[in-house]
């Protein structure tokens, strides 16, 4: 039986401590959550992501107060009511639109940081897997959100992407109709994507963010040299006042102060985009209302899906779908495909260094080609880049198995 002091003033420190163990919580989660000193601003990207998710959540709640999930009303509820009748509605919408685009840029930076420094290995596999789960959930969140304004791109991207579930020559049209709730995207379709976007997926995201943070607690974050740190020993040194000699710093307040500084720089860029350069995040085609009778000349997904779209497109239907499925799951397998024992920056890992840069450049090429019309030279480059993508992943276990132990 726990001991409760009857004389403790309600909500006083003692009173709370006896009920919530706030001192222990604070210690475990922040003041004695140790971070290696030897890290750069790329390690602030996780907190930048959390902050961006916060912005998306808040702006989304404001949009939700006026949005109408109805095929007849949705377009004008967004483009007229929110953009011109609601005070600062345009600001919330631009924050939400820019946030949705920029969050993927930061996710990719965060992922490639992890790949570069080998932060998915030796006890950090679950960090990587929960991170990939977040990537998938964010993709679902972005796609479902894109349906909501019910513009031309909403409608036609919804059509094209749900069509993928017919499985090519499997002709699983029943499945496609089940997903849509209709033969073509319509009211049932809009309603369910609305539900996914504002309830189920955000709920799952919040849960998985907690899981992602949880998976970090025991292995701790990696560092610039992949050095294996004895956190207990280093922490003792720090607590003994030898902050200069210790290899670690507490998350709160020392690392946090750097996180907040990086976030400040990021917010300047973010709000510059919100006020002066939001068009890149809001496709013009989606400002034409959905018209089932008029297929847009070019249908393409938002930029962050382009690389995986381009792994699908250059192939005939069936192999294309297989390649697409491959692209969706392969990043999950990274911790198991990389067979080298080394946790070190790619620059010190021989062939892996070239693999890393080749993957990054190949994905950028895929992204470019995914938007261009699939004609002539573009489709040839797209095909080569897609084959390179698959080839790189097949090569990964081979080159990493040969890697010398550092």
């Amino acid at each position: 039986m726990a001991h409760f002091d009857e004389n403790a003033r309600p909500f006083s420190h003692k009173w709370l401590n006896e009920r919530l163990a706030i001192d222990t919580l604070k210690r475990v989660l922040s003041t004695e959550y140790w971070i290696p000193k030897n890290i750069n601003f790329l390690w602030a990207m996780g907190m930048v992501l959390a902050a961006t998710f916060g912005l998306l959540l808040i702006s989304g709640i404001f949009l939700l107060m006026y949005y109408q999930p109805n095929t007849q009303l949705a377009f004008d509820s967004v483009n007229y009511t929110i953009m011109s009748e609601v005070g600062y509605g345009w600001l919330w919408r631009h924050i939400h639109g820019v946030g949705a685009s920029v969050v993927f840029l930061i996710i990719y930076i965060h992922m490639f940081t992890g790949i570069y420094y080998g932060s998915y290995k030796k006890g950090r596999e679950l960090i990587w897997l929960s991170g990939m789960l977040l990537f998938v959930l964010f993709s679902a969140e972005a796609f479902s959100g894109y349906m909501l304004p019910w513009g031309q791109m909403s409608y036609w991207a919804g059509m094209v992407i749900t069509n993928l579930f017919s499985g090519g020559s499997l002709h699983a049209n029943g499945l496609v109709e089940w997903i849509r709730g209709d033969y073509v995207p319509g009211q049932a379709f809009l309603n369910r994507f609305f539900m996914l976007h504002v309830l189920l997926v955000p709920l799952a995201i919040i849960g998985v963010i907690v899981l992602h943070f949880g998976t970090l607690r025991i292995p701790h974050v990696n560092n610039q040299d992949g050095e294996e740190i004895d956190f207990e020993e280093a922490a003792e040194l720090y607590k003994a006042g030898k902050v200069k000699e210790s290899k670690v710093i507490p998350f709160n307040p020392v690392f946090l102060s750097k996180d907040v500084f990086v976030m400040g720089v990021y917010f300047i860029l973010f709000f510059y985009l919100v006020f002066y350069h939001f068009e890149f995040a809001m496709d013009p085609v989606n400002f034409d209302p959905a018209d089932p009778l008029k297929t847009p000349t070019h249908i393409y997904p938002e930029w962050y899906f382009l690389w995986s779209y381009e792994v699908l497109r250059p192939f005939p239907t069936d192999p294309g779908l297989v390649a697409f499925g491959f692209a969706q799951v392969i990043f999950f397998l990274l911790p198991f495909l990389d067979r080298s024992p080394n946790v070190a920056p790619a620059s010190r890992r021989g062939a892996f260094k070239f693999w890393f840069w080749a993957l990054l450049i190949d994905m950028i090429v895929l992204t470019f080609m995914g938007k261009l019309p699939p004609e002539g030279i573009w489709s040839t480059i797209g095909l080569i880049a897609a084959l390179t993508f698959i080839g790189l992943w097949i090569a990964l276990p081979i080159i990493t198995a040969k890697e010398k132990k550092l």
């Binding site: 601003f41 902050v243 400002f287 992204t367």
Partner: protein
């Protein structure tokens, strides 16, 4: 410093990515059209000078179909009846002298279908000679108001074909304020008006082959370059389209654009006002965060 080098690499890759999916992709996806700055170079310069007084007499013929409201001349038919006759309501001519290009207008009066580049144009040739045409143009210039509002420009040049629901504009005029019956909630006047718009739109769609789109938010659905070159010459962007070349001057186009901006992107002034304040806030925030970081990391290296 290492962190700056990393920042440089991240920035370079981000910019390359942006360049590829935005400017580069769009330059490849959209046909490149050179505008001619509303000069209508395909039409030869007029060889004669117009006389407004002669023009006034000739313009009497125009009122057989059009109105010239500022001169107290009403249209012979209402908008719906006109549409039933011609497929579209001929616009009021009061301010065409201020909005349309002089050279364009003169050639237009001689051969409307050819000059507007539409396969058929419901208005017959309405000037007997280049001199007559020049006289009529001179007359309309002489009665042109000094100041035309953006909405008036839109109504004259586009309003007979394109609704703008965000500004409550229909092809037959502004949606009137009506009252519904308190006991039943039925608003007969509104229904009446809706019916008229419906009849008009059906006729218009028959005439044009399709209903011209509502332009409420077109300013965000098309690039500035597209709108400019398209309005200057619709055929340049959509070959074979039924939309006529309307012959706006550069200033006339700017007015129409201002109207489209007002209905489709009304937050622009507020954005420009709020933006600097928000950015200043975050600059200060970042500076304070920097000082905090400096003090926290003191003695750590």
């Amino acid at each position: 410093m290492k962190e700056l080098k990393i920042l440089g690499i991240v920035t370079v890759f981000t910019l390359i990515l942006y360049w590829g999916v935005e400017p580069f992709a769009h330059s490849q996806m959209h046909k490149h059209v050179e505008g001619d700055d509303f000069k209508y170079a395909d039409l030869p310069a007029l060889k004669v000078k117009g006389n407004a007084q002669n023009g006034q007499a000739l313009a009497a013929a125009c009122v057989g179909c059009h109105s010239i409201k500022t001169q107290g001349m009403a249209a012979p038919m209402d908008a719906v009846t006109s549409a039933q006759t011609y497929g579209v309501n001929p616009p009021d001519l009061s301010n065409i002298g201020a909005l349309l290009d002089e050279k364009f207008l003169a050639h237009f009066l001689l051969d409307p279908a050819k000059v507007t580049k539409s396969k058929h144009f419901a208005m017959p040739p309405s000037a007997g000679s280049e001199q007559d045409a020049a006289d009529i143009v001179a007359y309309f210039k002489s009665i042109a108001p000094k100041d035309v509002s953006p909405k008036e420009a839109y109504v004259t040049a586009c309003g007979r074909c394109h609704a703008n629901r965000y500004d409550h504009w229909t092809q037959i005029g502004d949606v009137p304020k009506t009252k519904s019956n308190i006991k039943t909630g039925v608003d007969l006047d509104a229904l009446e008006f809706k019916k008229k718009v419906g009849i008009y739109q059906n006729k218009l769609a028959d005439y044009m082959g399709k209903l011209p789109p509502d332009l409420s938010i077109i300013i965000r659905a098309r690039s500035e370059k597209f709108l400019e070159t398209f309005i200057e010459d619709p055929q340049s962007q959509l070959p074979g389209t039924a939309m006529p070349r309307v012959g706006l001057t550069k200033e006339g186009y700017e007015k129409v654009k201002a109207y489209l901006e007002k209905t489709g992107d009304p937050s622009k002034p507020l954005r420009e006002e709020t933006g600097p304040k928000v950015l200043l806030f975050f600059v200060i925030f970042t500076f304070l965060a920097f000082l905090w970081k400096k003090s926290m990391w003191k003695g750590h290296h």
